[in-house]
């Protein structure tokens, strides 16, 4: 993390963010913020509220209470959001009968991004030779990379990824880790949810851990794991304590 990161405006700021579905409280008074140039791991058991939180941040769902701001605004009020935020929420948000290239082109047209950028990204995610094939023929790893390419179309300053390593082979995971590190080194910001704690420990600067809709821990990785504990031990202790 750059030394002056804390003095800059937060890229993402959630304050008392709450989402209820009837009786179920999916996200409960969640507060956290992210500084530019950081990679933040967003951790928690299944059903902890991670995906709901990401959906609230990205304007796909409305909070019941509290607010989620990105670059100081609600996502739906951002001008030209594709040039500021890139996000992948599900690994399979594609029409199976559409080619990878046409998927990217349809999004690029809506965001008024030139088609040369589509070709560039197809090279970056190593899908150029499969670009005209329909997505139904793609492996899970190829779909992950296509989703990532879509998120990167507008050269965003913030990348939000939900379980991006699912389905990637070891080489793919290695590629993703290096990619995210380089992305953050350029002063840009990453929020990545994951279950793969060993992988997270190698990639992120800081973590936010959720359980049952609430934040149970957050901070720099070295602070949380500083007492001779691994991230996995810390995580299991925190999420087990909450459950009991």
């Amino acid at each position: 993390m750059p030394a002056d990161a804390s003095t800059r405006d937060p890229v993402v700021a959630a304050s008392s963010l709450t989402k209820r579905y009837g009786q179920l409280v999916a996200v409960d008074e969640l507060t956290f913020s992210l500084c530019p140039g950081t990679v933040t791991g967003f951790l928690g058991p299944n059903g902890a509220g991670k995906t709901t939180t990401l959906r609230l941040l990205l304007g796909l769902a409305e909070p019941t209470a509290g607010e989620a701001l990105i670059f100081g605004r609600r996502y739906r009020e951002l001008e030209d959001p594709a040039r500021r935020v890139g996000a992948v929420l599900e690994s399979n948000d594609f029409h199976p009968g559409r080619s990878g290239r046409d998927h990217l082109r349809s999004l690029a047209l809506a965001a008024e991004i030139p088609s040369s950028r589509v070709e560039e990204l197809l090279e970056v995610v190593e899908l150029a030779s499969a670009a005209d094939r329909r997505v139904k023929t793609y492996s899970l790893g190829m779909r992950q990379r296509l989703g990532l390419a879509a998120a990167l179309l507008g050269e965003p300053e913030l990348l939000v990824l939900d379980e991006p390593a699912n389905g990637l082979d070891p080489a793919g995971v290695h590629w993703l880790r290096r990619f995210l590190r380089r992305f953050a080194e350029q002063g840009r910001t990453v929020l990545v949810s994951s279950h793969m704690l060993a992988e997270v420990a190698q990639t992120v600067d800081q973590v936010v851990i959720m359980n049952r809709g609430r934040r149970v821990a957050s901070g720099r990785l070295d602070e949380l794991t500083g007492r001779g504990k691994t991230l996995e031990e810390t995580y299991l202790e925190l999420t087990a304590r909450e459950a009991s």
Binding site: R55, G59, L60, E77, P81, H95, D102, L109
Partner: protein, 249 residues
């Protein structure tokens, strides 16, 4: 808005959905017009109104049905396959996305209506001629039928988008459109429960009126056009409002 429309037109061109709908529609138009053109007793199809309504009218009706399906699928397929998420991430102004879907679907819908009515006219005239019957339709009847068929299908495409945005689930949406146009309206304006005075205000009857069918029962083409446009605007507006308010699936 132009950007969203260009994106929508590419989306509709880049899958085989519309092509599949088009070929199914053409097959059904061919079947329906041939069966009625050859099958109906000569005395039932010897007037302008009868030839228009009972034989070639199938082109208009099936054009409207398939344009409605096309419009509905433009939104329900995005919800079903999850592409609605990246779509709304790029364009969080959801009303703009819906408006682009309405316009894009109206464009392809109009083409569907024009192709279906043109095929019906060609096949219907040929079938009657093969039986040694004269076509009672003149140039202005044909012109009104084709233009009306295109307009009716375009407006039904908009109704499909609105309905799809409200219902969201693909299969019930598609079944509703088919059931309404091919079955329920037949009951409303048919002989079984003749509520013709009310039935002619139904959206399928209004669509038929635009192309000049059954002028004794249905509304005039101009009134039919205005009424169907009102249905389309209501459906599109409802779809846009609920989409803006509800969480994205």
């Amino acid at each position: 808005m132009t950007a969203q429309l260009r994106s929508e037109l590419l989306k509709q061109r880049s899958t085989r959905t519309n092509l599949g709908l088009l070929s199914t529609m053409l097959g059904l138009v061919l079947l329906a017009v041939l069966l009625h053109g050859f099958g109906l007793p000569a005395k039932n199809v010897d007037s302008t109104s009868e030839q228009l309504t009972l034989v070639v009218g199938w082109g208009e009706k099936l054009g409207a049905v398939f344009a409605g399906l096309l419009g509905a699928m433009s939104i329900t397929a995005e919800i079903r396959h999850g592409t609605i998420r990246p779509t709304f991430l790029v364009t969080p102004q959801r009303a703009r996305v819906l408006a682009a879907k309405v316009l894009g679907s109206m464009f392809f819908g109009a083409a569907f209506g024009l192709i279906a009515t043109a095929l019906a006219v060609g096949v219907g005239s040929a079938a009657l001629a093969a039986r040694g019957m004269e076509s009672q339709l003149d140039g202005s009847d044909y012109a009104l039928f084709l233009a009306g068929g295109a307009a009716a299908a375009a407006l039904w495409a908009a109704i499909g988008v609105g309905l799809g945005a409200v219902v969201r689930n693909q299969v019930p949406t598609l079944i509703s459109i088919c059931a309404w146009l091919l079955f329920v309206e037949g009951l409303l304006v048919g002989d079984v429960a003749d509520v013709g005075d009310v039935g002619r205000f139904a959206p399928g009857a209004a669509a038929a009126a635009i192309s000049g069918q059954d002028p004794d029962t249905l509304l005039t083409p101009a009134v039919g056009l205005v009424l169907l446009a009102l249905y389309a605007a209501t459906a599109a507006l409802a779809g846009s409002l609920v989409t803006a308010r509800r969480d994205v699936p």
